[in-house]
């Protein structure tokens, strides 16, 4: 999928906004929102929040996780852990990009927050590359990937799954000819599952 499609999916998440206008409830197909009361926080889908912000109809309330201290803790944990740690939000990158893009002035210390999130993203992306290599070397047929967000998973497509597909084909072709007694292959075929 295209990153914009993942963003599109992430845009359905609810975020809190403070409108500067007053309106009745609005009945959308994806749910009802409102009533809008000037100055009072309320939840709307991210796409709507961005739209209202662009029309200067609201302020976006910083999500709880967009906080320097919380993010520093996550960054440290991500650095020290071999595995992927749980992110505060399944679409953290989408939310960060859209909110910090459209409403940086609503987020205290937006610049610093942007940097930390980018750091976390980079740490995870480089971990992801190492994990892919380990997965291919140690079996290449199954992997568990808890806590990876959709955008991150998308970044290894089509490379990882297509490599696993081809490896499987080669293996099944090779199996047809390799007789067990003659199998002198120097690498182990066991331990195919790999935690990443």
């Amino acid at each position: 999928m295209d990153p914009y499609e993942i963003e599109f999916i992430g845009e359905n998440r609810l975020v809190s906004v403070i409108p500067n206008f007053t309106y009745d409830k609005i009945y959308l197909i994806c749910g009802e929102f409102g009533p809008f009361r000037a100055g009072l926080p309320m939840n709307v889908p991210l796409w709507l929040a961005v739209m209202l912000k662009q029309k200067q109809k609201c302020r976006i309330v910083p999500p709880d996780w967009m906080d320097i201290d919380a993010l520093e803790t996550i960054k440290e944990a991500e650095k020290t852990s071999r595995f992927f740690t749980k992110m505060p939000n399944e679409h953290y990158m989408v939310e960060a990009k859209l909110i910090l893009g459209a409403a940086a002035e609503d987020i205290p210390r937006a610049g610093e927050i942007k940097t930390i999130i980018k750091d976390i993203w980079d740490i995870r992306m480089s971990k992801l590359r190492t994990s892919m290599d380990t997965l291919m070397k140690s079996g290449g047929s199954y992997g568990r990937l808890d806590h990876l967000t959709m955008m991150e998973i998308n970044s290894v497509k089509p490379l990882l799954p297509s490599a696993m597909d081809d490896l499987l084909r080669i293996q099944s072709m090779a199996k047809k000819t390799i007789q067990p007694s003659l199998n002198t292959s120097s690498f182990s075929q066991s331990g195919s599952s790999q935690n990443i």
Binding site: K137, S155, L159, A163, R169, M173, A174, T184, F187
Partner: protein, 193 residues
């Protein structure tokens, strides 16, 4: 790696040459052996023929040819590949290393070709990883086989799309691919005139 009937890539793979020894006389097929002058192809001739033909000759009962391993799948190269597959320039030595190898492996009674293919594939995966994020993609792609190149460029496309997304604002609507290519070509043609 698809080998369906209409697959262009499988047709190219099966066009690769295989060294074969003819086990029976073949009347009027002398032209297959460029070194022979006779009309008929004699039993015992060693000739390189395309894989599609060798597969067909080999599948007759009794087989009309015995198939020898192309040199990239022989002991000497296998040793190098098993030691460090990443040092091998597949573009020069085996553009279709894996796909061709899958067809060839059944002719290897010792069964070592199969494990070399798997081993090589696994080792070289990291070359794809680095090629996909490499700044000089031409150099990184150079030693890769055809399918590895394809996979690495697909990966760098993903990488590029992600970078574009991270750095840009809105999702820009663009001219369709074929339309744009057509325009480009037309422009080039006009410049050449």
């Amino acid at each position: 790696m698809d080998n369906n009937y209409l697959s262009i890539s499988d047709i190219l793979v099966t066009n690769e040459k295989v060294p074969c020894k003819f086990l029976h006389d073949l009347p009027k097929m002398g032209f297959l052996d460029p070194s022979a002058a006779e009309d008929d192809l004699k039993a015992g001739s060693n000739v390189e023929i395309p894989l599609w033909l060798s597969e067909s000759l080999y599948s007759r009962r009794p087989p009309l040819v015995s198939v020898e391993l192309p040199k990239i799948y022989k002991d000497a190269y296998r040793e190098i590949l098993n030691a460090d597959a990443c040092t091998v320039d597949m573009h020069k030595l085996g553009q279709y290393f894996y796909e061709f190898g899958c067809y060839i492996s059944k002719h290897d009674i010792k069964g070592e070709v199969g494990s070399t293919l798997i081993n090589t594939f696994r080792q070289r995966f990291r070359m794809l990883l680095s090629a996909s994020v490499s700044r000089d993609s031409l150099i990184a792609l150079q030693p890769l086989s055809a399918s590895e190149r394809q996979r690495a460029s697909a990966a760098s496309k993903t990488e590029q799309a992600l970078l574009d997304w991270l750095h840009s604002g809105d999702c820009v609507l663009t001219t369709a691919n074929m339309v744009a290519n057509h325009r480009k070509r037309k422009r080039a043609e006009m410049e050449m005139v």
